[in-house]
Symmetry: D2
Subunit: 356 residues, 4 copies
């Protein structure tokens, strides 16, 4: 119920720090009999893996996942699936200054305030490196929901948004930004390069859509599908906002504008004329695409010195010398996909438990 | 762990439907020895109560809360606190049409898809009436965190936002909109009246701030303070978006702009020069005010007929004749406050459990 | 996850004290569409109800259960089912002495040590009166598992056991002791009368069997069926021991004696030649009858004065003047049945979640 | 909440199979700042380790535990502690027959019935080998409760019990049976040797005492200390019964005999004249020693052929050729100690959460 686990029936627990020996996840409650090998998970880790373009951190991590339990003769057994990823390219020397003073925007001060001390190497447990474990677990989750197709993309970087008219799903995997708009991708190259070279950083907005979700998933009132998605996405490093469907824009609409009118569709199911609701009503999926949008703040690690205090409470100045993503939101795309998969897998099983 | 409970150590469970006999909450895990009577809870229910101005639904509910257990000789005993609110002014006849066809934007279709049938009277369990139980539970939560002051206000209605320069905390309770900007409150009168008279509805944005939260509350990684707040707020009826601190605006900032620089403050604690982070870093409170912003869609019940389908899957047209809030977000303010209190009380106890 | 809730998917929460206004349960996660009315629950409450013979406490409680939510037009809706039982015959005056000194064997001292004070009226929350709420919830659970038949009986009182050779299931409901052995029932009349008249009390052993449980229920490793049953039964007031199948007797057997050999049965399922295991292997049901045996200590309330201390820590003497069961284990039979039903309903849904 | 995790605030999750690559545990919710290294855990694993005398299985496993996360510079950080134990001496060839037919008393049939297939090598997940992970986690738990001393011993093997008059705590670690009675230990040598040589097996009763537990731990009503201990112990392989204090014997006592009278002790706390209750009243510790007694059935693996069925449902005969403990209960002693530590650590933190 606590701390480092997520999910109710399909449940995962992650462990590990940025510069520890390894990190991993234990996936519990997975249905038995699903075909699973490391090759099923690796593509998702590769997508999230750092060091693949100049627009992400240059830390080189192969992020090879190993399955240590829960699979026998190529199939899940229904028992816990232990996923293990070794840390390879830790350079702890980069972080000596961080031990002494607090990096604004980072969790440094908060961790010290809570726990009395912290593993300062690369941010320790608060590092986005932990998301590798989520992505591995998310790969297992996808097997549980073969009827669903999940796709995330970057919608804006540093305030420069895509043009919806240019949306081309095939474009997403063709550029290092998970950008569905070729023109925007070009602009972002310069934008991110600029930030990288000047030691600055940029925020981003990620959108993620799940199609094929049947009507009826979601466990009101406090395990609503949208509530779980909000928790899942807000738990990702650097996330500061979550929207379902029209999100904040809906607050400016009238009731007439916001109504997703229905017409008779196939098999007595409705055909919706719009999807302002993002596929969720009353916390339950409607059968429309589930749409979530997530705001990532700019990477807190910047080369510009910032005023801060040290552990003794005295004034200090700090800038972060380690290797960092100029825009952590970019690599957030596969992480949001993983969280979507993890939530949907859990909700599918939870729905099956109650409603058969 | 499931469905209608929220919280980990300080935990509440709600029950009840819009037109049932009653609704209530069971609050579990409350520390013993706190002074508690019904008079401590009633003011919060009164604030949320419908029928107090022409800008809210005209349903007349006294919402008198009764404490049925867990309190002895005026103090909490550490055992479950049962809170009970009778439903008084149900007019089930208003909802006969809803039984047959699905109201777009409402949970009608989703509930039928999930459960096979539904209590259609006033939306049944999916009605915002359930939030009365949350508000009562939230009143108990406040007793657990006397060091914290919680204050919510309406920041925008129908896209018309307050002017931050006009912000006056004392103004919030002087108008029926929980509006801290007297000028905006005047404009909103006309705006909401217009919507009400035309049978339309409006969305709203609520902001909620908690001051006095010490640094160190929050249980990373999957019970982070921001993650819990996001789940708590997204579980409220009609909510479509949640932001912490700068939220989506942070995604357009540079790392330099977004950094909350620190200077030495009192007792070795930092004095922060800004609060883009909304008082939370790495999922843990920093000692700054905790700030959450919530988007409410316009009330789905409107008098304009909308295309829909009936239970048989045939085309139909529906408009909602019952009594409804023209802007459900307004009454959302005390509900967001309650959820803030409930999350913080739980996090305080969770922190005490682990860190003493 | 905490305190006063039990179950994982089918989950109930109880509240209320012996001498409070009322007590109740909220049942969450119940499948939708089950036919349910108060008349379905009342017989179980009547079976547990006090004051029905001279062998139980003379407190007169009608224990009329009311369903306040979660049922619409006679069927469960899938939303929380609130069950409410008013307390009627509280005589708080009986308990004035208990306020000052601790009754040995009771929870008085432990509650004070934990919470700093306590509701001393009739034992407050620690009273066996709470089991009325469990029994009501158990009635709902039975609807979830129509394939299962549950039957409890008293196997021994004060060390005087039934003769298995005399076992007659029809006899159980013919005497006030839930005793399947007519000869033992006769003996127990004198035995319990003697204890009652002398102000003494007796312990008892309850056995409970569930037939019709299919093979495959149980969620290893930490939600094993036997583990859940042990927790459920040990949570009942006055219970000090739980056995599955042969229990402690199995510890004296050899591997050959304890083996439940199998032969081909119907549909490829085994026919077991014995049931030392009590229907559970590896924490999972085998398709055999599930058998649990529960030890109740003698009622702690006795008329003989016992040495104790008062709240100030000074020496005192106490004897309990209130109305009490001379053998609380007798009324434990319907409570054990309820716990069996609640565990099995939860395990059925949990199994369905994971294994379809 | 589900399956392979245990605990509410101090919570652990185990993974791994008998013949997989490794097994392990993730301990979550551990307080920060505790001194912890592998050397703190290894002694407990060594105590449970097989192959140390001829009275246990001859499988040779070094059971070297590695800490992969959650510790920094020798102290716990408050983040998840991943414990990893490699499997070294798997001999999967021994289990080929088990793949085809079901061993009576084992989980073979139940796992197949539940999951559709199973990892048959050494019992897979249902093997007692999993308890190594619990014992490692238990070592962490002990650090959380330095005020408590936990000691388990074997009280009976194959029905041959120790003589309480001979109880000598120092004797426990001097013989391979964790036996506090030197005379009994001598007898058991012959008894267990006999079972081993004839390919038979024996059951055992383990007792475990925790001293130093302050009054007030335990979270009624459904996370009572005794309820949690019952669940924890019943989840151990081969356990069929759990008693608290006098357990089943209490059911044969009168109220007078069973009363643990109190006299004034130190600091206003009572001095108890007896401990029939096993240190727990109303689910809360009383300050007396907490005493639990656990029944282990005889090892199900025996060399005598037993009637059974194969996966196709046809008649078969099976005897188990692998290496097994002639009395699995012996090595249960350190496992029961671990579960006691894990429950008490969790209850300590839970108490601190609610009661400060």
């Amino acid at each position: 119920m606590s701390f480092n686990s997520f999910g109710r029936v399909f449940r995962f627990t992650t462990w590990g720090e940025s510069h520890g020996l390894a990190l991993g996840a234990v996936v519990d409650g997975c249905p038995p009999g699903l075909t699973l090998s490391e090759a099923d998970l690796q593509p998702f880790l590769d997508k999230r893996r750092p060091g693949q373009s100049r627009f992400t951190t240059q830390r080189q991590e192969p992020d090879q996942v190993r399955i240590l339990s829960g699979v026998f003769e190529g199939r899940t057994t229904g028992t816990p699936i232990a996923l293990h990823i070794d840390n390879v390219d830790q350079r702890s020397k980069d972080y000596s200054e961080v031990a002494k003073a607090y990096r604004p925007g980072h969790a440094d001060y908060a961790y010290d305030a809570k726990y009395g001390f912290r593993d300062y190497r690369g941010g320790g447990r608060s590092s986005a490196r932990e998301t590798a474990a989520r992505v591995a677990a998310g790969g297992v989750a996808r097997l549980v929901i073969p009827e669903v197709r999940i796709r995330a993309w970057v919608e804006a970087i540093g305030g420069d948004a895509i043009d919806p008219a240019n949306f081309d799903a095939d474009e997403i995997d063709r550029n290092p930004f998970f950008c569905p708009d070729a023109a925007a991708a070009s602009r972002w190259e310069a934008l991110v390069d600029g930030a990288r070279k000047s030691g600055s950083s940029l925020g981003a907005v990620i959108a993620c859509e799940a199609t094929g979700v049947p009507a009826g998933w979601g466990a009101p009132l406090y395990a609503k599908l949208d509530s779980e998605l909000a928790a899942a996405c807000m738990s990702i490093n650097a996330v500061k906002g979550v929207e379902i469907g029209d999100g904040f824009a809906a607050a400016a609409l009238s009731g007439e504008q916001n109504a997703d009118a229905m017409r008779p569709g196939e098999d007595g199911r409705p055909r919706f004329l719009a999807n302002h609701a993002g596929g969720i009503a009353g916390g339950i999926s409607t059968g429309q695409p589930v749409l979530v949008r997530v705001a990532f703040k700019p990477t807190s690690s910047i080369l510009t010195p910032v005023e801060t205090i040290d552990r003794a409470g005295d004034a200090a100045e700090i800038f972060t010398k380690g290797r960092h993503d100029p825009c952590v939101g970019i690599r957030g795309a596969p992480v949001v996909e993983a969280m979507m998969a993890l939530v949907l897998a859990d909700q599918k099983l939870l729905h099956r438990a109650q409603c058969g």
